[in-house]
Symmetry: C2
Subunit: 121 residues, 2 copies
């Protein structure tokens, strides 16, 4: 199986295993989509660019605030969560979850998905 197909499969499995996860995408550090399972109304290019900008600003903030090298940026909005985690070197995993999501469970599943991604890339 091509690596892209394997990555897409891993993302789909993450979403089907946790119904509160609505969307996910693997994005390169420079803001390009590598694999994705995003709903149609979300504009991939903008989302990818924004996620990589947020992670890189988060990286500077983490260092500046003495929190060490960055592992995750989480945004909580009124209607849900957006999670950006560092995946294989040079990549980040973006996950969108509903407000009803159990954060502990999401962190666990996302962590496992990151391990799978590291094996594929």
């Amino acid at each position: 199986m091509a690596r892209i197909d394997e990555l897409n499969k891993v993302l789909r499995a993450l979403q089907s295993g946790t119904p509160d996860i609505e969307a996910s995408a693997l994005i390169s550090e420079d803001g390009l989509i590598i694999a994705s399972a995003l709903p149609q109304h979300i504009e991939e290019v903008r989302v990818a660019g924004m996620s990589s900008t947020l992670l890189s600003l988060g990286m500077r903030a983490a260092t500046e605030l003495g929190r060490g090298s960055i592992e995750q940026v989480m945004i909580r909005g009124e209607t849900g969560y957006a999670l950006m985690v560092t995946a294989a070197p040079g990549t980040l995993l973006l996950v969108l979850a509903t407000k009803a999501a159990r954060l502990g469970l999401i962190f666990l599943d996302v962590g496992r998905t990151v391990e799978l991604i590291k094996k594929i890339l």
Copy 2:
């Protein structure tokens, strides 16, 4: 008691009640410190500017990603957490916690502190 003194008291109480919280600051939307309980090695002006930039970028990302209006940005680094939450209108509360922190407890205490801040401002 002057409002600034009240705010400083609330921030000190947050930190003394939860030992894993190392520092906190109330920052205006435009990146100026209103009250703070930050360690000396942290450069207030830079930290305040960076926090407000992160929250405003988070705000755009939350809208773009369909997560509604922003409530919180959390950064997890290798050695701890940085949390930025919207407090009274036009302000944000920055909280730095160690890696050992129980996130559930931190969210609870920070939420209560935000309520106190809203009453003061």
